[in-house]
Amino acid sequence: MARDGESRSYRRKFCKLCFDKVDRIDYKDDRRLSRFVTDRGKIVPRRISGTCARHQSQITEAVKRARILALLPFTSDQYR
């Protein structure tokens, strides 16, 4: 059995926020934040999204603040 990694074409992940030269992620910017949240409302881990450490920690803080203000869900119960 061939390992999955060998057959799959591999593309290096990059931090999309660094690419866009985003300096600071705002908790009020729910449109941008929603790209880093799964459809269940979970924060997408770095290993999936490829964001750098600096931006990931900004995302985490911003998402948590946005959740308090009901701009983003804590959880989505559409999938039950």
């Binding site: 908790y27 009020k28 603040r65 203000l69 009901a70 701009l71 983003l72 804590f74």
Partner: protein, 122 residues
């Protein structure tokens, strides 16, 4: 005094006049305590991502202000007591970004607070 950002979510049913009244109730103590209201944003009625107090929408108000730290605690207490406030959040407004400082070298020390605010808005 530090620069803060306060966001308040009111009940969706409140009239404009009532919102203004509530806004005054926030801004007046700031002025009295020697602070300064820098910006008021009315985001209007927005859909909530989840229900709060069985409401699906809320009227958002965003205030950028300079206040003494003691007032923040008092503000928090008042919001809690206020029944028409569904949710509130006060955070420190971000300082001027290091990247913006890079772009204007040497201007770091001279950067006015007003400048810092404008970089934050975006």
């Amino acid at each position: 005094m530090k620069l803060y950002e306060t966001t308040i979510i009111f009940e969706p049913g409140l009239e404009e006049a009532r919102i203004n009244e509530e806004l005054d109730r926030v801004t007046q103590p700031i002025a009295q305590a020697g602070g300064e209201v820098i910006e008021v944003q009315r985001w209007g009625k927005k859909k909530l991502a989840y229900n709060i107090k069985k409401r699906r929408d809320g009227t958002y108000l965003h205030i950028k202000h300079k206040s003494p730290a003691t007032l923040i605690a008092e503000m928090d207490r008042r919001f809690r007591l206020n029944e028409s406030v569904l949710r509130h959040l006060t955070v420190l407004a971000p300082k001027e970004s290091p990247r913006a400082a890079e772009e204007a070298p040497g201007a770091e020390g001279a950067a006015a607070p007003a400048e810092a605010v404008s970089t934050v808005v975006e």
